[in-house]
């Protein structure tokens, strides 16, 4: 495999496959069998199944699979945490130098795995699946829209944030502080930290629609996450650049309007008291100052914690 910085202890596998289980999933036995078939040329590997508090039926399935396939390890969560968090916990427990994440509904056939692992032999650190093809109208549009907005906000060229089929070097996860649901946005974090991303076009299996494919509330949540993400990645160290810019814009426009109205009142003698424009001008000035003050507050926060936040990511040191 490609260069790995960690010491390879005896018994540690080369590769870890993490499978988070939600309420719906494909037959686990088939999953493991297919993995065995597909991963043959890649050395010894382990499968980590994360049971996201699914109840006794799932536990039985999982135990059955564990008995039959020795490479399987099981993580059972006491409380439902959501797929992204479950994935995160699974990757933490992984021991391989390469980590693969798979979605249990098998939207993407496991046969695509070797093509995704190939770039890791070279210079890439993270490989993500990109489902370019089919999918029904509304869900497709929402998904494309979401990814486009993500690209625009974060300046990272990622095309399919919802595809859970990913392969990465261990360092990618170690270097990036992520919590809970942010695993969805792993490619964005990784690229911002300087890791190299490669996307492999994969085909979505026909007839397998995503669970709750078009769920408006979840998309709104994700949009909020995206906004937070974009802010954190681009402006984390410099909140004033964002708030100050918008604040100044408000202030300047408000002041300009105010000056214009002042001219009308003082020079032309027109009454301005009942003009909505006046209210707008004052409001813009006030909002401008407010945003500016929040920007400064942000700066103060960053400043006081500056020592804990490292700006840079070291690749090699000699």
């Amino acid at each position: 495999m490609a260069s790995v910085e960690q010491v390879n202890q005896k018994g540690a596998p080369d590769l870890s496959v993490v499978v988070p289980l939600g309420s719906r999933y494909e037959d686990l036995g088939t999953l493991c069998r297919d993995l065995r078939r597909v991963l043959v040329p890649f050395g010894c590997y382990e499968v980590i199944i994360v049971d996201d508090a699914n109840g006794p039926a799932t536990r039985r399935d999982v135990q059955a699979v564990r008995k039959e396939y020795s490479e399987v390890r099981v993580l059972t969560l006491a409380r439902r945490m959501g797929e992204s968090t479950a994935l995160g916990l699974g990757t933490q427990a992984a021991r391989g130098a390469i980590i693969v994440t798979v979605d249990p509904y098998l939207h993407v056939s496991l046969d695509e795995l070797p093509a995704m692992l190939e770039p890791l032999r070279g210079e890439y650190d993270l490989v993500c699946g990109w489902r370019k093809t089919q999918g029904s109208g509304l869900a497709r549009i929402a998904s494309n829209g979401f990814n486009t907005v993500a690209r625009w906000l974060t300046q990272v060229p990622v095309h399919d944030l919802n595809c859970r089929m990913r392969a990465m070097r261990r360092e990618v996860l170690q270097d990036i502080p992520m919590y809970g649901d942010l695993h969805r946005f792993l490619p964005i974090f990784a690229v911002r930290r300087g890791f190299r991303l490669h996307e492999v076009v994969v085909t979505q299996q026909p007839g397998k629609q995503e669970v709750g494919a078009f769920n408006p509330s979840s998309y709104i949540n994700r949009l909020m996450d995206l906004l937070t993400l974009a802010f954190l990645t681009r402006f984390m160290k410099r909140p004033l650049h964002l708030f100050g810019l918008i604040g100044m814009a408000g202030l300047v426009i408000g002041a300009a309007l105010g000056a214009y109205l002042g001219y009308e009142r003082l020079v032309l003698g027109i009454a301005i008291g009942n003009r909505p424009l006046l209210l707008l001008a004052v409001l813009l000035v006030v909002v401008g100052i407010q945003l500016g003050s929040i920007g400064l507050l942000g700066e103060l926060m960053i400043f006081t914690h500056a020592r804990e936040l490292k700006d840079y990511v070291v690749k090699e040191e000699r």
Binding site: K237, V286, Q290, L297, F303, T304, A306, V313
Partner: protein
């Protein structure tokens, strides 16, 4: 053996300059007692910089080479070098041969006189007048005026620090040019010293004028931080008071008008008065939040006076 002196040089696409730079460094440190280490930080260069660096390292074991995953910016690269420096004195400089390593000895002498930070002053700059020198002069004046730390040349990378002082100074975003002002927060004494400047020999300059607005915001931030980081309530409280005064005066004026004319509808003042009062309340709350933010940080005490030994 721990080195006495660490020279930190962030480099970005400077593969042609490095061999000559190393030669000059080697010559410069000959007259300095104690061991030196040269820390080159490759800030995600796209050319042969890393390769040249690893080759040079074989020739001179005093070189330490650090490579960042992508281009993080000069401040980050410098912070990286400073974090890994082991010397008691740290000298930072540019990797493009525009700083003269021969000046290092003089910087160290001034440092030894009891100063904490010695800043290079490029008294005879070898750059274009209107695009580089004039904006620089304006910026330096502004920074000096706002932060109270008046230097002639904030933009000169060649500076010498006592390690304990610089390691304690917060360094992030694009703040490397403000380090002297920021280190004053830890009670450091800052002086400047005239140094040589050479015209750029290889490669192209990495700066342009478009960054002006960002620098402008940074100046505002740094000057406020320097003045109020320990007591933000003084700043926000003052603004709040101003707003409060404006609001109250406007309100009283409106009441006066209302008493005479019994007509509040066509009025500029009440609306603005209310908003001004709102702003006063907001600024007060933000000031309190800022104070809250500070009390939760144990490092506050670390920001206090540098011990002199």
């Amino acid at each position: 053996m721990t080195p006495e002196l660490s020279v930190v040089i962030p480099v970005y696409n400077e593969c042609e300059s490095m061999p000559r730079l190393l030669e000059q460094l080697q010559k410069a440190v000959k007259s300095i007692s104690g061991i030196a280490e040269f820390i080159f930080v490759d800030d995600g260069s796209e050319d042969q910089t890393w390769k040249v660096l690893t080759e040079l390292q074989v020739q001179d074991r005093r070189i330490r080479a650090i490579r960042l995953r992508r281009n993080f910016g000069q401040t980050a690269a410098m912070a990286c070098g400073i974090d890994s420096a082991r010397g008691k004195v740290i000298v930072t400089m540019d990797g493009d041969l525009q700083n003269d390593p021969a000046d290092i000895l003089r910087l160290l002498e001034v440092l030894a006189e009891g100063n904490d930070v010695v800043c290079g002053w490029r008294s005879q700059r070898q750059d274009k007048l209107w695009t580089r020198k004039v904006p620089s002069i304006v910026a330096n004046r502004l920074i000096g005026f706002f932060t109270g730390v008046r230097l002639h040349d904030y933009g000169c990378s060649l500076k010498a620090y006592r390690a304990e002082v610089i390691k304690r100074t917060p360094l992030y975003a694009e703040f490397h040019r403000f380090i002297p002002a920021l280190s004053v927060l830890t009670g450091a004494s800052v002086v400047e010293l005239k140094v040589n400047h050479r015209a750029r020999q290889f490669g192209r300059t990495k700066y342009n004028l478009m960054r002006t607005w960002k620098v402008a915001f940074d100046i505002v931030t740094v000057s406020l931080l320097v003045k109020f980081a320990h007591k933000p309530m003084r700043f926000f409280g003052l603004l709040s008071l101003v707003s409060l005064t404006v609001g109250v005066v406007s309100l009283m004026r409106s009441w006066h008008w209302y008493a005479i004319n019994a007509d509040v509808t066509a009025q500029v003042l009440p609306g603005s008065a209310v908003l001004a009062l709102w702003l006063a309340g907001h600024l007060l709350v933000v000031g309190l939040l800022a104070e809250l933010c500070l009390t939760s940080v144990h490092e506050r005490s670390e920001l206090m006076v540098t011990a002199r030994g």
